[in-house]
Amino acid sequence: MAPQTTHPAVLLSGTGLRKSYGPVEVLHGVDFEIRAGEVHALLGENGAGKSTLVKILSGLVQPSEGTIALDDKAVAFATVADAENAGIVLIHQEFNLAELRTVEENIFLGRERRKGLFLNKAAMRIEARALLDQLNCAAPVTAQVASLPVADKQMVEIAKAMSRKARVLFLDEPTAVLTKAETASLFALVARLKAEGVGIVFISHKLDEVEAIADRITVLRDGNHVTTVSADGISPDDMARMMVGRELSDFYPEMSAPSAETLLEVEEVSAPSVRRASFDLRRGEVLGFAGLQGAGRTALMEAIIGLHPIENGTLRLNGEACTFDSVAESKTNRIAYLTKDRKGKGLLLANDLVWNFSLFALDKFATPFLDRKAERAAYDAGTQAVDLRAASPKMAAGSLSGGNQQKLLLAKILEANPQIIIIDEPTRGIDVGAKAQIYGFIADLAAEGRGVIVLSSELPEIIGLSHRVVVMHNGMVTGCLTGDDINEETIMRYASGLVSERAA
C-alpha cells in the first residue's frame, strides 16, 4: 500500500443519487466515486442503502434522480450488459452462474471464443485455466459449476470478471464464504488488480478486512452519505461507530430479568452444517445468536424445529428429552420459528392477509369446516396486537411493506401460542420505526414468560436485546457470552473463530 503522491483519475462517479421504490425513498442523494487503482470500502448497516447504491452504479436498477459519470463523461446504464461492456462488473453475494454448465463455459458466457463457425474450446480452456491459476483456484475448467464448493464458485465469478477486463469491480461480501487461505489469495489478487489500475469497491461486514485492504472508506446510514475518509488510521471500532452513528441505548426496550427455570436444553446436537452445538434457554429470556453468514445458526434452529434431521445429541424441553420429526410436531410442543426468508418461506405473497395469518394455526379454526368468523376475529385481535397496518384484510400479503410483512409473520406464529419463539433476522429489510416496534414485541414476549431466541447478523441488535449471547462459528458454538462480554469486539472474536470456549 504505497501512498499515492497524486490523486489518480476518477473512473466512475455518482452524484446526488436518489432511489425510490413506490412512495418510499431508500437512497437520499448520495455521492460516491471510485478512482483508478484504489480499494474503496463501502460500509453501512443492513438497510443503509449500500446494495441500492451498488445496483445503481452497476446498471442493475435505474436511479430515480442523480447522474453517473464514467471517465468524467455522463453515462446511463440501461442494463447490466451496458455496464459490463463499459468495464463495470458486480460480483453478487448470490452468484450469477449457470450452475449446470462448466467452469469454462461460465467464464466465457456471452463472449465465447470462436474459430470460424465453431467454438474454440481449446483456447477457452487454456485461458480459463490461466485465470484460475492466478487465483490459486484448483477447480477443473471442465467441472460443472454446481459440483464446486462455494469458495470455488466465488473464484469462478472473479475469473469471469477478470476475463471481461473489468475497470471497476464491485465485490459484495466476497469473503463471507471463503476460508482464511482463500481470503488471502483473493486479497493478493485485489492487490494485483489495483496495481493494474482497476478500481475496486469492497463491501464487507468484516471490518478487520476493511482495515487491511481499503484505501478509502465511505459510510452510508439510513440511505444518507455520512462520510468519505482515507482509511489511514481508521480502526474497526471507528468504522462501527460511524456506521451506527446513534446512541443505541434508547433504541432498545427495557428488558425484564429472566427466571432461572430452563425451558429448552440443547446438548451436543449435530445436524447438517451443525457440529455438537449446546445451549440452553430460560423462561423469560432473550437469547441472542451471533455469527457470520453460514456459521450454522439457521441450520441449528431448523434442525431443532424438525425441518432437518438431528444426527446426534439431545433436546430437552421442560426437562424432558424429545425430538421433532416435523414442524407440526414442534408446533404442538409450542416451539415456533420465524424464518429470515419472509418472501420465500414465510408468507404466501399472492394470498390474502387472513389466509396467511391463520395458516400456521389453522387447526384451531377447523371443526372440521373452517369457522371463518372465528378466523376473522382472531385475525383482528392478532394483527392489532402487533400493530399491523393494512388497507384491507383481503389484500395480498406481497403488497405489504417489509415491516408489516414481518408483523404479519409474527402474528401468524403467535396465533399458535408458542412457549419458545425463534426469530431469525427479526428486522431484515424493514424501516427504523418498525424495527423499534419489533424490539418492543420481543421484550414483551420475554416478559410474558416465554423464551425468545433471536438470530441476527446485526450486532447492535443482538447486543441491545439479549440477556445472553451464543456465538457460532463454522457449525460450532464457540461461546456463550454474558454481561460485559456482550460487545461487538468480543462477539466478533468468537464469531470469526479466533477464540473458542471449547477445544475444537
Binding site: L307, S326, A328, G344, K345, L348, L359, F369, L370
Partner: protein
Amino acid sequence: MTDTTAQQTKPGLLAGLDWKLLGPLAALVVLLIIGSLLNENFLSSGNLLNILTRSAFIGIIAIGATFVISSGGIDLSVGSMAAFTAGVMIMLMNWMLGMTDMIWLIVVVGIMAGALIGSAAGWLNGILITRGGIEAFIVTLGTMGIYRSLVTYLADGGTLSLDREVRALYRPVYYGDIFGLPIPVLLFALAAILGWLVLNNTAFGRHVQSVGANEDVARYSAINTDRIKVYAFMIQGACVALATIVYVPRLGSASATTGVLWELEAIAAVIIGGTLLKGGYGRIGGTIAGALILTLIGNILNLTDLISNYLNGAVQGVIIIAAVFLQRGLRRKS
C-alpha cells in the same frame, strides 16, 4: 423494499378474483344463449340433461384434477387410469360369474374394486412424486403409458366386454334416474358439492392450495407437504374411479381407446374454470362450469351446420386460450 411498488396492483388482484369466479359462468350463459338461438330444442330438458350426463365423466375427473393442479401438480395419467380401472373391473366381474349366482354381489364387488384401484393408482402417483422426488409431469407421463399398455395387454389388443347378465343389472348406474335426474348427474353433483366443501371449507383444502402457492412456506407453516400432495393425487384417483364406475355400464366394455385424451379435457375444464395451472388457487365451481362449457361446444356444433362438427377440438382450443387470456389480461391491466 420493492413490495411497496406492488401496492397499486391490489385492487387489480381483487378484480381478477371476481372475474375468475364470474368469467366461466358468464361464458356458460353466453353459450346457452347461442345454443338456444341456433336450435329450439336446445333448451329442452332432454337435451340439457343429456349435456349434464355427458359432462359427468370429465366433470368428475376434473374435480379431482382441481385438487392436484391447485396443489401445484398435474396428472396426465387419468385417461389411461380410467381405461385400466374399467378393464380390471370388467375382467373381475366376468371372472366372478363362474363363482356365484348373486349378480348384485358381483356388481358391488366390481364397483368396490374400481374404487380401490383408482385410489391406489392415485396414491402410487403421489408416492412416486413425493418419495421419489420426481416431477408430477414425468411420473404421470410414465404411469399414463403403463396403464394404457396394461389395458391393451389385458384386452389382448381387442375389447374387454362385460357379461350381458351383469351389465343388465349394472345398467341403471348410467342409464337410471332418481326423480327424473340421471344417476351420473346426481353423482356429478354430489362429487362437486363434496369437492367444494373440502377444497374451500376445510383446513386440508386450504393446505392443498397453500402447498401449490409456495411449498416452502407451507413446510415452514407446519404443513406436511408430502402428505398433502399424496392425498391430492388420491382424491384424483378416487374421482377417476367414480367416473369409471359410471362409465362401465354405459358401453359395457373397455379397450385401448377407452378414455383417450380425457386427461387433457379434464385439465382444460380446470383451466377454463379459473384454477391456476401453476397451483395455489383452485375453484371447484369454475371447474364444473369448465366441464359444461366443453360439452356444450360439442353439443352446439352437433345441433347446427354453421361449423363442422369436425372442428369441435379447434373451437375448444380457442375457448381455452381465450379464457386464460381474459383472466390474465384483465389482471395485468387493472
